[in-house]
Every structure is written in structure tokens, then in C-alpha cells.
Symmetry: D2
Subunit: 309 residues, 4 copies
Amino acid sequence: MAMTGVLRPGHMQLRVLDLEEGINHYKNVLGLVETGRDAQGRVYFKAWDERDHNSLILRQADSAGMDFFAFKVADKATLEKLDADLKAYGVATERIPAGELLETGERVRFMIPSGHAIELYAEKTDVGNGMQYVNPDPWTPDAERGIAPVRLDHALLYGPDIEKVQKLFVDVLGFYLVERVLMEDGKTDLAIWLSCSHKAHDIALVRHPEPGKLHHVSFLLESWEKVLRAADIMSMNKVSIDIGPTRHGVTRGTTIYAFDPSGNRFETFCGGYQPYPDYAPITWTWEEVGTGVFYHDRKLNERFLTVVS
Amino acid sequence: MAMTGVLRPGHMQLRVLDLEEGINHYKNVLGLVETGRDAQGRVYFKAWDERDHNSLILRQADSAGMDFFAFKVADKATLEKLDADLKAYGVATERIPAGELLETGERVRFMIPSGHAIELYAEKTDVGNGMQYVNPDPWTPDAERGIAPVRLDHALLYGPDIEKVQKLFVDVLGFYLVERVLMEDGKTDLAIWLSCSHKAHDIALVRHPEPGKLHHVSFLLESWEKVLRAADIMSMNKVSIDIGPTRHGVTRGTTIYAFDPSGNRFETFCGGYQPYPDYAPITWTWEEVGTGVFYHDRKLNERFLTVVS
Amino acid sequence: MAMTGVLRPGHMQLRVLDLEEGINHYKNVLGLVETGRDAQGRVYFKAWDERDHNSLILRQADSAGMDFFAFKVADKATLEKLDADLKAYGVATERIPAGELLETGERVRFMIPSGHAIELYAEKTDVGNGMQYVNPDPWTPDAERGIAPVRLDHALLYGPDIEKVQKLFVDVLGFYLVERVLMEDGKTDLAIWLSCSHKAHDIALVRHPEPGKLHHVSFLLESWEKVLRAADIMSMNKVSIDIGPTRHGVTRGTTIYAFDPSGNRFETFCGGYQPYPDYAPITWTWEEVGTGVFYHDRKLNERFLTVVS
Amino acid sequence: MAMTGVLRPGHMQLRVLDLEEGINHYKNVLGLVETGRDAQGRVYFKAWDERDHNSLILRQADSAGMDFFAFKVADKATLEKLDADLKAYGVATERIPAGELLETGERVRFMIPSGHAIELYAEKTDVGNGMQYVNPDPWTPDAERGIAPVRLDHALLYGPDIEKVQKLFVDVLGFYLVERVLMEDGKTDLAIWLSCSHKAHDIALVRHPEPGKLHHVSFLLESWEKVLRAADIMSMNKVSIDIGPTRHGVTRGTTIYAFDPSGNRFETFCGGYQPYPDYAPITWTWEEVGTGVFYHDRKLNERFLTVVS
């Protein structure tokens, strides 16, 4: 109990149009640590302060976007139980054998109503965060190589039927609703932020006619000063910045949205308040959606609602 | 599931020698929000960004120290289950009726081997954080009144038999060990940091011959710049600072330790990494205990090990 | 010697369309301290950490914009010498008697080729910064009332003949060129940043066909975290934000541009490197003017070149 | 005029007991850039954002301490004038030929009543700050190598007759008094802070019976977050920290004092308000000297008054 079931986002497999460009971006600009390459040619990364072997996997493909987004669960018994619960709920699941992803145990994969492949897994090799587990320093040189986020934080996905996704994540996977944005009708959700922890969000969704789209994958920074540093590094490296540095009204986090060379949007995110499951959700009305998303500009840019990968 | 069982530290009742001095300190200097007074003369406070009615209760008494430290649990069913689990484990529990603390439901109280009274409860009235739950601003004027922490964060307790406390918190209450400091023998724990969440600690204990002592109650700040501001406000108000601003090796958090007018130590804490239950615990050896506790001074001050309330 | 001649920007008189709106904006949102009102109905303000009686004077008028921008000089002898030097240089000067502005000594006023009225003065009453000059605290409650800049920092003026303005400021008033942006021809200056100190700029000019226009008046913040706080306060108060928080390439400072209720642009600025008169000026080419002005967006917004008051 | 005469601290020659240890400390821990070695075996450094060839010169010797502390003046004519002014004031001056220090022009050296060798010079080769002077980035990788201060900021010297030093610096060199600490008699200065600019201090002195001693040489950091980073790097490298991170009451700056391997105290300093020559000086009384020096501890540590090199 306490932290049980689904623990946290664990990995995302992302498609890039040019692998070398993608590697350069995620390793040298974003500053992730490369941890391996597999026989399929996929390249594995982790953020410097993550301990598990990988959190981002790049695959070269003809179109950008996300292949799957996975959550680590507490242990193998939990994995079995959640698989059974999903099936009982009517969700078809698939088993991906251990080792299909490097240093990663068996995965349970399923499609959610928004058209995204979600995975659960219980095991990924602890390769350490570069600091020993006895008398560690507070940070390492990797914490200053590139933008250097501390972890994969969350993803925002675009697709239809997000109320069904919410029900699945809440009823089966134990998430809770933290915030939501209403559509013009004042009752339908345009967007939802869900947490399985006391993070402001572990996954978020925006209602969108086309299924299976990725709005952004987000990486955590430790301070607003590191957000400035991230924006500087993006400019030094000619990264296309969508918006930021700024603050979200939703979650109160600070943020930069930018694009990788293949057009996948990524976020460098910081802060956000820490909700708990007993918290009443926060609602943003249609009139204030601009303020909810970009607290300083107080209006959406066209790209936010239309550009996805 | 996900966040289940014990959610977070919920309230601490603290004894002060002079109530008016205590109120002035916690309201005007620390900047908590006063939320009520009861028939016994106790005074209730919450941090500005907490939503539940109270997290700190002051009681005038002849000696300083802590009466009890409580955790909020997920719901009433969880409270019943944990009470049963505690009894099954051999811990005597007591029920404190709803309303004995203002706006607080029934509490389950029990003594832990270190000699501290711990409570569990499922209900406390949501009085809001001063921002509406529809289209909220990111902060309010209360966020800048006094030191203005966002929440009660954790407590560090001193007493004997901390290995028994650890076993109880891990086996019955679902906590996990995040970090520990070893004694000179290289095997006995001098201190342990336990989490029921992905906070670096929700409770910590130091081995100490005298039972039931409070080392400090800790309040969370949002940035290192707010830690500086807190130290400034302490000096402006002649608060006795124990140490800081500095960094802990343990948890990596930044910190100031200071004393309230009655001699209770409190901490304004910021940051710290976010562990999960699958993380291997970090160990600090006896030789490096100074670095572990005060990362910059790299030695304990005498007060750390001896002054408790 | 060392700091001699012209010391710093001292005051600006600004026209607002509605005095009460203007007072509310500069007092309650920007957080300046109101220090007086005169018989003409003008309202005087200073930043909390300024010691002289006023730095911003609001005058109600039918059009927004700047009446005059003034520099404090070292002493009365300096004022006399600079007046003589200006006349010798061929600049007509006018004397405004002491007391015409509250608590301000005699002023020497002259028009510069860009069509702006500039003033020099040697005396303004020291009213203190709210902290005593014996054993002061590092800041006061006024440092957290509204955005609360520490001082009037500089102004950016739009008008023709900026090369003549540069010559006058350098040859007569002792300023030096810190940075410049070139026009498409690769040799004419589009914009110049001039300093009389080791600030990155005390005054800046952009070449513009219409004379006497104000691009923005700038106020100094102490940290990037205070820039975020400023943006939050602007949004809480529905202030129209032009751009930011972001960084300038020119000066490296961090910034928000926003508009007062009358349409005068103001800046909350932080940082910037500290040049000295022996520094070679930095040049931005036409191709990189976007990066020079807004380092993260890397392009000018239309408003930057067209909206002035 | 405006910035004339003495511009800023330019270089200090420091004695170290072991040259290799000293080089390692100033290059790899403090993060200065090594710019040359001369025939005498002296090693030259500059801070990453300084443009002139050197600001710190290490010389191996049998005792730690400072050989001389130099100020850059506006130009050669200024150097001649100040030399003449010093002589007219009764100060014996010596000329050190150009080239005696690498890439440095002729120096005028003289002893001040506190027993320190002070130098003036007008020329030092501009080697750049690692960023081009056309379309520069805001910072370079050197800005994150080691502690990486942006510049040599000031020095605090210990010796007798500081009132005579003050008179010389004010009357001949154009400095002004920014702050002072009084002795127990309520009238004699224990310490003085002098500025030739709008920095809170370019040089400071503490009354001390032994002449010619160095309390600390100070290097400027850009933010309080970089002060934390500096303290972390010191601990990672086992640098002996004297005190900090903390705030000074005097100047309001934030600070860490630490020792190089030879026992020379150095400071990593940030912030401080910006005074001008028209500012009334701030006075700290004997009773509040602790608060003035260490604003949070509010008492001097014994080392502050006794340990010098």
C-alpha cells in the first residue's frame, strides 16, 4: 500500500525520421544518457537521474510520432493482476516478452480508446544514476550536459473518446483526475490531466478527431533557472521552440515546448503543485482555456491544437 | 491503487510554552494560515497551499515537544483496514472521535517503539487553498505572507528502537526505506528516512536513548530562492537559526533548521529527489555522516545530535 | 573621478490617458511607491530601493508617450559644465527651475536629434529606501508589493538620426557604445545601446522615421525568479503582455515587455552583463536581429518595430 | 566622463604554497580559464566572462598571501595623471614596465598605509570572453566548468590605518565610501567598503594590527542558484568552506567564504545592491557587526577576524 499498482511513466518509444539527427538531439541537446542500441537499430536513452536502464527509445521510421508509452508497476504480481483487471474490463492485452526492449522485463500492451498503445511492465534493470548508492554526491557532470532533465515526466496524447480513456485509467489503473478543461458546451472535457502519484500529471489527453497522436513527451527540470538555461541551449542549437519559457495555468508548472528534428514536440517542464487522490479536481472553462494552457500569453497558439505527431 | 493506504503527513500537534508567542511565530513569521481555535484553547494552522483545514495544532504546555504526528489515509475503509492490520501486528490502537480535532474525522492513534504517538485519519474538511477550483491563479497573497511554506512536509523523530519502527512502517503501513545512516559499527542504523509516496521522506527517525522526542517538523518551500527569503525573514524576526541555508546530502534537499520561541526545531525544506518504492535505498557510512546531514559543512554540529524537544 | 559626470537615469515623465488607471497600474501592479502629487496634478513614484524622491512622473494627457527622460549628474558643478559643453557642441539648452518637479533641483533640458527631450539635474531629495542607513535589513515589505522593481533602469527611444544622438551622448555626455544592430545594408545602425556606467545600457535608441517616440521604459528586477513572478502578477491583473518571460541576445538580460493601460510599453528587466568603457562594442547583423532582440524566439514580432507611444 | 579614472579591479597576484595544487584549485574547482605561464613560472587566469588576458596570477612562494592588487584605469593619460596625483599627495610610486606581467601594459605601483601593494594600469590585451563580438551567444561551455565566476569582483584587505587608506582612495583615486562598521567606541571604523563604480564594493578594508594581509579575494557569480552550485562543487572537491551559503548584511550580497589549498580565503559572491557616489553611506554599529557580516548567523565566527593570509 501507499505507493502501489502503477508507479510512474517508464518509457516511450518515439519514431524519428533520421536516426542520427534524433540521437544528436536527444543526447547532445536534450542531454539524455545513451544506454544502448539493439539489433533492430533502436537507440536507448535515460535521463541522468533515472536509475532504470531506459526511458526513451528512438526508432527510425517514415513518420514521426509515438509507438507506445509505458508505465512501471510495483512488481510482477501487480503486473499480472492489472493484466487480469484489464481483460475483465474488456480490454484486449498482449504480452511482449522480456528482453524485447533492452534490460526490460515482460510487458503488457493494450490499446486505449484514444488510439494509443500503452504498456505496463514491472522490471527494468537498475543501472544507477551515475552516483553511488553509498555516500553519493548530489549531482554528477551529466546533470550539466545539455539540457539535462532529471526524468521522463509525462506525455500529452491527442485522440478521440478521452472520457473512455479516463474511465479506464481511473477504474482499472488507479489514476485520478487532477485537472480538466471544458469545451464550449460547458460540460464535455476538452482535456484531462491524470495522476497515479502526487505528480500533477503522469498522463494527459486532449480530445482530437484523429487517434493515436502525440502532442508532447515531457522531461522534468529542477528549477525555473534551469528552464531559462534550457531555452538558451535550444537557441544555441537552433531547436525550434514552440512557446516558452512560460507558465501553465493547468498544474502551475513552468514550461518550454519545442520540436525535435522530426517534428515531435517535447517539453521541458518544471514544478507544478503536488496533488493527492483526495483532492477535488480543478476545472478550466472554455473561456479561460488560453489562460489555463499558457498562463502569461492567456491565449492558445494555433499550433497547440493542431500540430501533433 | 497507485496512491493507496497512507497518503501523506496530515497534522502535528505541537506543545509551546507561550501560546501567544507560538501563534505569532507560526502565523506571522512562518506565515501559516490560522484556521481555528477550539474549546481547549488549541490553535489550528494550515500552510497556504494545503486544502485540508489544519496541519499544525499548537497547545500551550509546560514543556515543548510533539503530542502526536498524523497521516491522512485514502478513505475510511483504508482506516479500518489499517487499524485491523496494526492490531494484528500487535500494536494497541485507540480511537479518537471525529471532531476532537476541529474539522477532522475519527483518528486511530498508536504508540510506536520510539515512543511517539502516531495517528491515522481519513477525513479533514477541504477548506481550499485560497484559490478557487475553477480557473485558479497560480498563487495568492498568502504565498508571500511570512515564510509561507506550501505544506507540512515531514517530521524527524528521535527515540529508541528505530529498527522496530521501520519494520512497523514498512510491513504494516506500506512505507519504504529511502536512505539511512550507519553507526560506527557499520551495520546498525543511526537514522532512517521513510516514504509512503515519492517524496524523499514522509517521516524520519534518529536512534536516541530518550523516547518520544521531536528533532524537527518540516515545511516545504518551492525554490532555493525562497530558502534565502526564509533565512532573511528569520533574521528580520530574530528567529534562532540552527543551521542554513545549506544542502542535505541525505535527500539532496536544501534546508534551514531554526527554533520556534519554545525551542521546537522546525525546518524550511526545499527540493530533494523523488524516489519510488522500487529504488534501492541509499546508505551513508559513519565516516560520512557529517556530509550526509550537512553537505556543505561536512560535519555535524553538536546541536544536531543533542537538542530535541 | 571613477563615477563622474552623468551617473544614471533619474526620472521619466510619462503621459497616460487616464490618471487613475495609470496610478493603479504603476502603484498596485508594478508596485512603485507613490511619493507625491503636485499642483499640476502630476503623480510621483519611485521604485522601492531607490533613495531619491521620484523616478517616474505620470501626467494625464490626450496621447500616451514620454514627455522627457532625465539623467542625474554628479553634482551642481557637473551640471554647469555639461550645460556649457552642450551649448559649445551646438545644442540649445533650457533651464527648468528647481521645484518645478517635486523635490528636484534645477534641470537642464535639451532636444536630441531623435526628437526626444532629455534632461540633466544634480539634486533630488534623498527620501530613503524604506530601510534605515544604520544596520539596515536587506529588504522591506515594499520589495514584495506588486512586481516591485528595484529601480528605473533605462529607456529605449525611437526616432531618426540616431547616429547623431550617439555622437552627442558619447562626445559630450561621456557615454559609450555597448551594442548595436546593423540594418540590411550591413553598415547603418538600426539600434544602439549606450551606457554611462557599467550597466549594459542606460539609454538605447532604434532608428525610426517618426521622432520622439517611446518604445519602452524599463525597470530592474533582481532575479529570473522575480521575472516569473512579474509575469504571474501581470496575468493576475490582466496586463497586456507583449512578450516574455524571455532573454535578450543584446545585453543577455531577461525580460518581459508589457503595456500600461494607456499603451505605453514598459519592461521588467533582469541581469545583463556588465560592460566597461574599454570594452569593444558587440554587433548584431541584420540576419540575426531577431536573435539579438528575442534570443529564444529568434525572430522579431511585428509589434517590436511598429508599436511605440 | 561618466566612467572615468579608475574603472575596476583588474588583477591580483596571489602566493600559493604548491603551484600544482593552486592551478588545480583555480582552474578545475573555481573554474577560471588558464591564459598563460611566464618565464618566472607564474600562472595566469581569467574568469570566463572577462575579456582582458588575466585577472589572477599565481606565484609559488613559502607563504600564502597577496603580492599586489591592481585596478584598470580608463586610458594611458589617466594613468599618467593618477601617478602624478599620487605623487602630489605624497605617495611614492614605482613603474613596472609593460610586459612584466603577460599581455599587460606599464603599471604604477604604490604602497597604501595598510601595508598593501596596489597597482594601476591602462592596458591589458583583450583576448575575448570566448564568445565572438558579432552575434554572440549569452554564454559558453566555460560558464559551466567548475564554479565558473564571471569576474574578479573585489578584495578585502586587513591592515592598520584604514582611515588613511580611505582618504587616499577617495581623495586621489575617486572612490566613495559605501558602507562601514564601527568599533566599540562608536566612532572609529572597524571596516570600510569602497567603490569606484556602482558595484557595492571594489575594495574593502578591515582594521588589523598586522599590515599587508589578505582576508579574501572575491569572484562574482550570477545567481543565488549558482551560489548553491558553488557550495556543492566545493564539497565535491573537499574545499574547506569557511561559511556559507549565506547573505551579508553589508552590501546585501550572498556569499560563500572558502580556502584555497594554501589557505588563501576566496569568496564566491553574488548580488549586492548598486550604490552611486551620491548615496549616503550605510553604517553598522558594533552591536550589529555580526548581523552586518553574516546576516543569517548574526554573529561573527572567530575565523573572520583572525584568519588572514
